[in-house]
Amino acid sequence: MAGLLDKGILGFSKVLARGLRVGRQKEGGLFLRIGPEAKVFFLLSSVVGVSLIHDVVKQASLLLYISILVATSFKRPVAFYKRVLLPTLLFGGAFTLPAVLNVFVPGSRLVGLFQFKASHTFLGYEIPTDIYVTQEGVLVLARMLLRIFNSLSISLLVAETTSFLELVKGLRTYRLPNAFLMVMLLGYRYIIALSDTVVKMYLARKSRYLGGSLGEERRWVFGRIAYLFERAERRYEELFSAMTARGFCGEVVFYKEGGGVFRGVLVGALLSLPVFVLVITEAGWRI
C-alpha cells in the first residue's frame, strides 16, 4: 500500500515536469508547428464555442474535428483520449447521470427501471411511482459529457503541445498586462521548485526508512507539509535571486517573440473555423 503513496508523489512530479516543461508531441505534428499565439486564440475561441453549442449532433461533429487535430498531433491518440475520458466520466458522468431519470428530466419513456407502490416527496422532488430513463434525460447527459470531453480535449491538445513558457509567450502577444504574466511566470517557477522539493525530501526520507504502513507514510507526509512549503519557498527565493542576478528586473521578455497578433488571430481563426460554423448554424444564421 505504501507504494501507492510512492507512485502518487513521484507521479505528481512527473506530471508537472511533463505538463509544465515539455509537451509530448508527435515529431513534426500539426500542433507542434503552430505558434503559441495561434494556439491561445484557438483554445479560447473553441472553449467558448463548445459552451455555446447545445445540439448533441453538432457537439459530436466537433468531437470528430478535434479527433482529427489530435490524430495529426499525437503519436498515440488512444493514450491521449484515455487521459480525457477519466475526468470526463468522473466530473461529467457522476454528477449528471441522475439526469437521465424522469425524476429530474421528465420526457418520453426509453427504458423502465422500477415502480413504487405510491409516489413520494424527497428533498423537494416529487418521486413518481414509475421510474424510467427519458429520451430528454439521455440527451442532457450526452450533451454534458460531450461538452466536457470536447473542452478537455481542446485544453489538453494545447497544453500537451505547448510548454508553459510558450503559453505565456502566446498570452503576451495579446498584450496581457505584464503584472499578470509575471504572476503566471513566477507561479510556474514556484510550482517547479515545490515539485522538486517534494521529490527530493521524499526520496531522502525513503532512503533512511525501511518499511512502514500506508498510515505511517501518510502521517509523515502530512506532518511535513508546512516544512515542505517553507523549504520550497526558500528554494524559490534562491531561484528568484538567480533570475535577478542574470538581469531580471520585473519585465517578462522572450528570446523569440511570437509571430504577432495578426498572424496569431489568422491561424487561430482558421483552426477554429469549424467551431465558428457550428456556433453560427446553432444560432440559426444562414451562411
Binding site: 534562491e238 531561484l239 538567480a242 538581469g247 521578455v253 528570446y255
Partner: protein, 273 residues
C-alpha cells in the same frame, strides 16, 4: 578611470533570527585582479558574494562598486539595476537553482535578453560562448538532463553571455572531476587575461595557488583574518588552523599511518618532502 573595482568598508551582515554572518569586512579588489575568498563552511563566503552582487545589502558599512555606493534604493530603478547587472556576473554554487530555463540555449540567452540586447547580438554571443565552453551540442537539451560538469559549464556560459566586467564565482570547481576542474582553472585564467576582474569563493586551497591570486581569508567568526598573495596565506599554517581550513587527522603516507595537520585540497606537505 576608477582603479578599484570593489571596495568593502567595514561591512557587516546579519540575518534576522540567525545573527551575524559577516563581521566588519574591509576589502579592496582592483580592476583586472583575481581575488579568492577562502574560508571554511559557514564562514560567510556566499553571503559576501551576495552582497557583491547586490542581491542583499550590508546591515552596516559600505559597499562601493567602481566608486559608487551600492544601496538598496538604487535598485528600485530598473535602468540602474540593469546597468549594474550588465557589469557584474554571478555564478551560483547551486547550479540546479541557477539553471531554470527550458533549454541550454534559453539559459545562455536569458541574461543578454533581459539586459536589453538586440536579437542578432544575443545569438552571436550565445554561439561564441557555446564554442568557448564546448557546449554547442547541448544547446537544445534541457539543463535537467546534463551531468554536473556540463551544468557548471552551462551556468558559466549563462554568466559569460552578459559579458560582465566583474565575475563573482561561488565554488566554481566544487563537485567537478580533475579534468573539468583544470578546464575551469584555465578558463578563469584566460578570462582574467582578457581583463576581467574575478572574485572566487572557494574552500579548495589549491585553486588560489593555481590562479596565483590574491586571497581574502574568512574565519569561523565571520571576520576577515588576512588578505595577501595566495603563496603567503596558503602556506601560513597557523592562519589556516585559525580559519579551520586545516585539521589534524589520521592518514596513510608512504605506507605509514600517522597523524598531522592536513588540508584536503592539494596542500598536504610533510616536513621531509
Amino acid at each position: 578611470m576608477e582603479d578599484i573595482a570593489i571596495k568593502l568598508d567595514a561591512v557587516s551582515f546579519s540575518y534576522e533570527g540567525i545573527g551575524g554572518v559577516l563581521s566588519n569586512i574591509s576589502l579592496e579588489v582592483k580592476r583586472g585582479e583575481v581575488m579568492a575568498i577562502i574560508g571554511a563552511n559557514g564562514s560567510g563566503k556566499t553571503t559576501l558574494l551576495n552582497i557583491l552582487d547586490s542581491l542583499i545589502f550590508p546591515s552596516s558599512g559600505r559597499y562601493l562598486f567602481f566608486g559608487e555606493e551600492m544601496r538598496e534604493d538604487l535598485f528600485k530603478d530598473a535602468a540602474a539595476a540593469r546597468s549594474f547587472r550588465r557589469r557584474v556576473g554571478y555564478l551560483f554554487q547551486d547550479v540546479d537553482v541557477f539553471l531554470f530555463s527550458p533549454t541550454v540555449f534559453d539559459e545562455l540567452a536569458y541574461a543578454p535578453l533581459h539586459l536589453g540586447l538586440e536579437r542578432g547580438e544575443i545569438e552571436e554571443r550565445v554561439w561564441s560562448v557555446a564554442d568557448l565552453l564546448g557546449i554547442r551540442d547541448l544547446m537544445r537539451r534541457s539543463p535537467d538532463t546534463l551531468s554536473m560538469g556540463e551544468k557548471k559549464k552551462v551556468a558559466m556560459g549563462a554568466v559569460l553571455t552578459a559579458n560582465p566586467e566583474v565575475l563573482l564565482l561561488d565554488e566554481p570547481t566544487a563537485g567537478l572531476d580533475g579534468r573539468s576542474e583544470a578546464f575551469f582553472v584555465e578558463l578563469i585564467l584566460s578570462l582574467n587575461k582578457g581583463g576581467k576582474t574575478l572574485v572566487i569563493a572557494t574552500h579548495d586551497l589549491s585553486i588560489p595557488l593555481e590562479l596565483d591570486s590574491k586571497v581574502a581569508l574568512l574565519g569561523d567568526d565571520h571576520s576577515l583574518l588576512a588578505v595577501g598573495p595566495a603563496s603567503r596565506i596558503v602556506e601560513d599554517r597557523e592562519l589556516l588552523l585559525r580559519a579551520n581550513l586545516i585539521h589534524e587527522h589520521r592518514h596513510i603516507h608512504r605506507g605509514e599511518i600517522h597523524r598531522h595537520l592536513h588540508a584536503h585540497f592539494g596542500m598536504h606537505v610533510h616536513k621531509d618532502d
